[in-house]
């Protein structure tokens, strides 16, 4: 027992765990809309785009959160507009815009070699370097996103179900889409340091698909996905400490393991259900 509690005596671990729990919950919550809208690839793409924004904001010496946030938001809006106004599909628009943005970041790093800041943290996450202010930012973003989802719940649900029909029924889809892009960019920036650009996409997708396998109800899916995100954040952090593994990767691997477990259980239940039906027939 004391071995399990041992890491909590270190403040870096306590901050890191808090950040991982809230980051997991946040990604799980917003991820439900991303998965149900068939936009799973956007988390992956936007996180790469934001990396470009992070480097640019460093080069022109503006606040990281502001620079990278604006960059990510612009990228999301640009993806939406490109797919809406041209023949280009969303996945292709994501591929072009976000990869170009990521390439810009890499190009700038190679050009300005005088960087003192390590961008490894942005790429792979550095949860042990999380400060109390970072934890506060993640908690603040979680509360803000939860409040927005609470207030726009019905509109967001309708838009996610069928955006074209929602518009006819009076939902301001364009405005809501922009708000969603803004939320997504904010979530990605807030969680970047915990999970890293390369792993955020998994945190946005795995908890919602686990929840989807467990329920047919939308609001239950939101709750379950948030819970799975938070729980895997906590378990992943502890495993990473005890197994001496990278924290971001361990959190994602924990989520993937839970997904496999749920998938197995639901397949067994489905097979048992079929067998029971055959017996009754």
């Amino acid at each position: 027992m004391s071995a399990l509690l041992e890491p909590f005596q270190y403040s870096f671990f306590r901050y890191g765990t808090l950040a991982a729990v809230f980051a997991g919950a946040l990604c799980g919550l917003l991820g439900v809309y991303i998965v149900l809208r068939g936009m799973s690839y956007i988390g992956h793409g936007l996180s790469h785009a934001i990396f470009g924004g992070a480097v640019v904001s460093y080069v022109i010496a503006i606040n990281f959160y502001l620079g990278a946030g604006l960059w990510g938001f612009m990228a999301a809006v640009l993806i939406n507009q490109t797919s809406r106004r041209t023949k280009i599909n969303t996945d292709a628009a994501i591929g072009v815009i976000t990869t170009a943005s990521f390439a810009l970041g890499v190009a700038l790093i190679s050009r300005y070699r005088r960087f003192t800041r390590s961008f490894d943290a942005a790429l792979f996450g550095n949860i042990l370097g999380v400060a109390w202010t970072d934890v506060l930012v993640i908690i603040g973003v979680t509360i803000m996103v939860a409040l927005i989802i609470f207030v726009t719940y019905k509109q967001l649900l309708f838009m996610t179900f069928n955006s074209e029909v929602a518009q006819v029924y009076g939902v301001n889809v364009r405005w809501l889409d922009t708000l969603f892009s803004l939320m997504l960019a904010t979530v990605l920036i807030a969680t970047m340091q915990v999970l890293g650009v390369t792993l955020i996409a998994a945190a946005l997708v795995i908890p919602p698909i686990c929840a989807r396998l467990l329920t047919d109800s939308f609001h239950r899916m939101l709750l379950l996905s948030t819970l799975i995100g938070a729980l895997t954040g906590f378990i992943g952090m502890n495993l990473s400490y005890h197994l001496d593994l990278a924290s971001g990767a361990t959190i994602v691997l924990t989520q993937a393991s839970i997904f496999v477990l749920i998938l197995l259980i639901s397949s067994i239940r489905k097979q048992a259900g079929r067998r029971l039906m055959h017996t009754h027939v």
Binding site: K154, F161, R212
Partner: protein, 288 residues
């Protein structure tokens, strides 16, 4: 009387391709109209223009005499093609129906008691109250259509717009849905729908609009469904048969004469008199 909906010389182009041209259409309050035409005729595009989901390239659209561009200025409810619905989406029947109140209800995520009662009442009116808690995937084609009709009705619309409500459902359910729409229309609701099923439209819908990029004919089924109008709309040759007030429309298959195509709606029935004008045959009485 000022029409509920009016389209004046509307044209719609998509990526330099003309989808609709010269559309002049009137829909009076309380009218029930069906837009018919072949695949690719622009039926769904026309509906989307009316709904404000697409913008016309030129021309004017008016609702209650007021020009509009984008969102419709009146309460319009829309029932999409059931093929466009994601049936695996995690929602129940009552949640789908409640979506119809998105504009009128409070900011709270959950429905109030009155709203819950309204959902139940609307489902009850359509005879599907027992399905309220079912997942939408677990419904038959007719039930699915009724659920989306319930979502439209709960919005208390002035104009009900349906895209292919009879696609993907059997003949009996088609009959039921069109009968239901007829009842709604008799209670005063204006209805505009598209359909591929010209026989069902001919016998259930009082106003027909034939479309193939442009309007080829509009009027009552008796005046619109002539072999000439059908040929202008669909291409190919058609035979129209009237029997005891029921219209039967049949496209002439290749290599058959019209004389091979006399329909016998009742097995063993004999047609005792028939007149023929061009491609149109009218029958007297049937004896069985």
């Amino acid at each position: 009387m000022e029409p509920l909906l009016e389209l004046r010389n509307v044209e719609f182009r998509y990526h330099s391709q003309t989808v609709l041209e010269g559309i002049n259409l009137h829909l009076q309050r309380g009218q029930f109209a069906a837009i018919v035409g072949p695949s690719g005729a622009g039926k769904t595009s026309l509906l989307k223009l009316i709904l404000g989901a697409l913008q016309p390239s030129s021309g004017q659209m008016l609702m209650h005499g007021r020009r509009y561009d984008g969102a419709s200025p009146t309460r319009v409810a829309y029932v999409p093609q059931i093929e466009t619905v994601d049936w695996n989406f995690p929602v129940t029947v009552e949640q789908v129906v409640f979506m119809g109140r998105v504009k009128q209800s409070s900011w709270r995520p959950w429905p109030t008691r009155q709203e819950q009662a309204l959902v139940r009442q609307t489902l009850g009116e359509l005879g599907i109250e027992n399905l309220a808690r079912k997942h939408i995937r677990d419904l038959s084609g007719g039930q699915q259509q009724r659920v989306f009709l319930a979502r439209a009705l709960i919005a208390a619309p002035e104009l009900l717009v349906l895209d292919e409500p009879t696609t993907g459902i059997d003949m009996h359910t088609t009959e039921e849905i069109l009968h239901l729409l007829g009842e709604l229309n008799r209670s005063g609701m204006s209805i505009l729908m598209t359909t591929h099923d010209i026989n069902a439209a001919a016998n259930h819908v009082p106003w027909i609009v034939c479309l193939n990029k442009r309007l080829t004919a509009q009027g009552s089924p008796e005046t619109v469904f002539t072999p000439e109008n059908l040929e202008a709309t669909y291409g190919g040759e058609f035979m129209v048969v009237r029997h005891q007030g029921v219209l039967f429309i049949q496209q002439k298959p290749h290599g058959h004469s019209y004389h091979d195509l006399i329909p016998h709606p009742v097995p063993g029935a004999v047609v005792d008199s028939a007149t023929e004008t061009g491609n149109e045959r009218s029958f007297g009485t049937l004896s069985v």
